[in-house]
């Protein structure tokens, strides 16, 4: 692995990994937001041209379930890898300048990501049984919760990167 550092600096390497993590997070966020809106505000059949909002919420939610699970796991794994570097290179300098609430919000993000990981098996199962009415309300609740978790994690990660990145 160290051969990479013959070509790029350590900070460049971790910045690239962080950007990959962020892009995966954006993809997860987009998929989950589409799905959450589709269950919270389902589109009804209308006559005439579809508007942007109608198209946004008219997605077939079940088609996103596997992708969301894979994206969450891959984003989680890369985030977990970055977390080792964060603990030394980001958190300690931010502690020295007293960014305690930002750091607390980030530690909470790690908890939220782990709880989201624990939700995935049931989330996937409910979405793969979309015609079972017994799962309708729990499917909606789990999807909204997972979407809220994803938004929190994304925004906190963004704020922390603004406070101090790897570059």
């Amino acid at each position: 692995m160290n051969f990479i550092f013959d070509y790029i600096s350590v900070s460049t390497f971790w910045t690239i990994v962080l950007i990959v993590h962020a892009l995966l997070a954006v993809t997860t966020l987009g998929a989950l937001t589409h799905q959450a809106v589709s269950v919270a505000l389902p589109a009804r059949r209308i006559v005439g041209a579809d508007g942007f909002l109608t198209r946004f919420r008219a997605v077939y939610g079940a088609g996103y379930a596997t992708a969301v699970c894979v994206l969450w796991v891959v984003t989680f794994l890369i985030g977990g890898w970055i977390y080792t570097k964060y603990r030394i290179s980001i958190r300690i300098p931010l502690e020295r300048i007293g960014y305690w609430k930002t750091l607390g919000a980030f530690e909470m993000k790690e908890h939220v990501a782990a709880l989201g990981l624990g939700l995935l098996p049931a989330y996937w199962y409910f979405w793969k049984n979309p015609k079972n009415p017994a799962y309708d309300s729990v499917r909606t609740a789990v999807t909204l919760l997972l979407a809220a978790m994803c938004w929190y994690a994304f925004l906190v990660g963004h704020v922390l990167n603004n406070a101090r990145g790897f570059g």
Binding site: R45, T54, Y60, R87, I88, L103, G118, V142
Partner: protein, 133 residues
């Protein structure tokens, strides 16, 4: 408004490969029990200090269970250990429960979203030093 209908047709085809798992009562029981157990185990692991292992990022040292930071070796990280405890514990419970597929119809499904929600304030409370400093 044919967008949803067209996407549904395409997805119906793509979803066939996942149907055997998705329609399995045993997997359904596993998924529901895993998801209910995961936040309980995670919170218990965090509150009681039961990480499966402790990682010391400055030296790449891994200690089994909870270990304090070592002098001059930087901080200790417990989050990986909490996640490992959660995944292994919830998986074991889920596998055992999968042997009783009828169990899933007796479990209140609202626990699946309620328990992670209840876990959040407990975990936030554990981060109190960050909020009050």
């Amino acid at each position: 408004m044919a967008v949803a209908g067209r996407e549904a047709d395409t997805q119906e085809t793509q979803d066939k490969s996942a149907r055997s798992l998705a329609t399995s009562p045993a997997f359904g029981t596993f998924a529901i029990v895993f998801t209910i157990a995961a936040p309980i185990i995670y919170v218990a692991s965090e509150v009681a200090g039961w990480p499966l292992f402790t990682y010391h990022p400055a030296t790449n040292r891994i200690d089994f269970g909870w270990a304090a930071p070592r002098p001059n070796e930087g901080p200790a990280m417990y989050w990986y250990g909490w996640v490992a405890t959660m995944l292994i514990g919830a998986s074991l419970l889920g596998i055992v429960a999968a042997g009783f597929p009828r169990l899933r119809v007796r479990i209140p499904l609202f626990l699946i979203w309620l328990l992670p929600l209840l876990a959040l304030p407990i975990l936030a409370y554990g981060l109190m030093p960050f909020w009050t400093r």
